[in-house]
């Protein structure tokens, strides 16, 4: 979580890790989830946020959040 918090994020979804120099590009939903995580939102709140702002069912949104968190873990960002 420390690494996720230290990411430099821009509104277009470009993320830069100042510790390792790695950079990532996030789509709009990925950006919304990362921003939510940095604000301390829990899984359910992240899902609700996606349902509210994107055309997606709660079931799909929940699955997408799970997938995305796995991605973040694989990059050691969580």
């Amino acid at each position: 979580m420390q690494r996720l918090r230290s990411l430099a994020l821009n509104p277009d979804g470009f993320a830069f890790d100042p510790t390792t120099g790695e950079s990532f590009t996030l789509n709009a939903t990925g950006l919304a989830v990362v921003e939510g995580l940095r604000e301390g939102l829990a899984h359910e709140q992240l899902t609700a946020h996606l349902v509210e702002h994107f055309e997606v069912t709660p079931l799909d949104a929940s699955r997408d959040v799970d997938d995305f968190l796995d991605h973040l873990r694989s990059f050691r960002l969580l």
């Binding site: 830069f16 100042p18 390792t20 120099g21 790695e22 950079s23």
Partner: protein, 352 residues
């Protein structure tokens, strides 16, 4: 009125395997509180820096220090007589033994340097990486120091291919088979002598730090970089500044433990939380200008420190992560006369 400083800088071979000299010279020129005249110390009439007169004022050909210290000193004496050179920044590994040995004599004749002691230099040698990694709390890829073909074959068997085969001073090659390792070994021994290092290949990102030790246990500044794009020779072409805590700590620890005096480059491979020590170079790296570009002008800080000049206000150790370094190619067209001058007289410039 500021006194003009005449500073000799070597490594002005701005080629595909660039020497650090041009970045160092540009940094000195950009230090607003210093008035410098740059003397390029070169080894070949075709080193591009000789022709870059917006960076290098005068240039002189020197004999290789490995060809004999007397001839090298004699040539430096000539350069000083001709230009009034006050200070030299050697930037090539092969020059370090000479400058460490003769820094007092050079100082006595009015040429300042800021180089490590032979003991400091020895302790950071490639053959001491194990101790160094332990002291700096870094990991070390499995490494064997070899001085014979039998040792080499044994090391490759023990470590298992692929391996890196590294020269005593410069160059490192990947070897995917024992045969390839032998071929690299022979090439490196012929060019740079013994010992040769055989090292396990580790994966990860190449992260480096440039710093200047003040000789009293701390640094005059340090800047970290991640290599984003490298040439076939492994030289950085695009990079980005980083703030990697473990590497910064290792740099500080190195300064503290070894009381390093002069420039250095910490080279690491970083895989997740594991930081592997690759080596510590006893000189400025070729990407030194990046530090200047982000406000940490290490060559200028070193010269001020060595000559007892005051630091200008706002000489901060802080810099922003995320600043991009982009190297590029460029061409200039000039008269053949300069080349002829270098070939026939071994010098070119405006100094009368």
């Amino acid at each position: 009125m500021k006194k003009q400083l005449t500073i000799g800088v070597s490594g002005i071979n701005a080629v595909d395997n660039p020497g650090p000299g041009i970045g160092v010279a540009r940094s000195l020129r950009e230090a607003q509180d210093l008035d410098v005249r740059i003397i390029g110390l070169s080894y070949d009439a075709m080193e591009p820096g000789i022709y870059m007169d917006w960076v290098v004022d005068d240039a002189f050909l020197l004999p290789y220090p490995s060809a004999g210290h007397d001839a090298y000193r004699e040539r430096l004496n000539y350069v000083q007589e001709k230009t009034g050179m006050d200070f030299i920044i050697p930037t090539l590994d092969t020059e370090m033994p000479f400058y460490m040995k003769y820094h007092r004599e050079l100082a006595a004749q009015g040429i300042g340097t800021f180089v490590p002691t032979p003991e400091q230099y020895r302790l950071r040698g490639k053959d001491r990486l194990g101790e160094l990694a332990k002291a700096l709390d870094l990991s070390l890829p499995r490494t064997e120091v070899v001085s014979s073909l039998e040792d080499l074959e044994r090391a490759v068997d023990d470590i298992g291919t692929p391996v890196m085969v590294k020269g005593a001073f410069y160059k490192a090659y990947k070897a995917y088979t024992g045969k390839e390792a032998v071929s690299h070994y022979n090439k490196l021994v012929a060019e740079w002598g013994y010992p040769i290092l055989v090292q396990e290949m580790v994966k990860g990102d190449e992260l480096n730090v440039v710093a200047v030790g003040n000789g009293e246990g701390s640094s005059l500044g340090r800047v970290g970089v991640k290599k984003m794009w490298i040439t076939e020779l492994g030289k950085i072409w695009t990079g980005v500044t980083i703030q990697h805590p473990a590497m910064m700590r290792a740099t500080d620890r190195f300064m503290e433990l070894y009381r390093w005096r002069g420039p250095m480059e910490l080279e690491c491979m970083v895989d997740g939380d594991t930081v592997y020590l690759v080596e510590i170079n006893p000189r400025f790296p070729a990407w030194t200008y990046l530090s200047t570009g982000v406000g940490v002008n290490l060559p200028a800080r070193m010269v001020r420190r060595a000559l007892g000049l005051p630091d200008p206000q706002g000489a901060s150790h802080d810099y922003d992560a995320g600043k991009l370094f982009v190297r590029y190619t460029y061409e200039l067209v000039t008269d053949m006369e300069r080349f002829q001058q270098m070939i026939t007289t071994g010098e070119r410039g405006d100094t009368p």
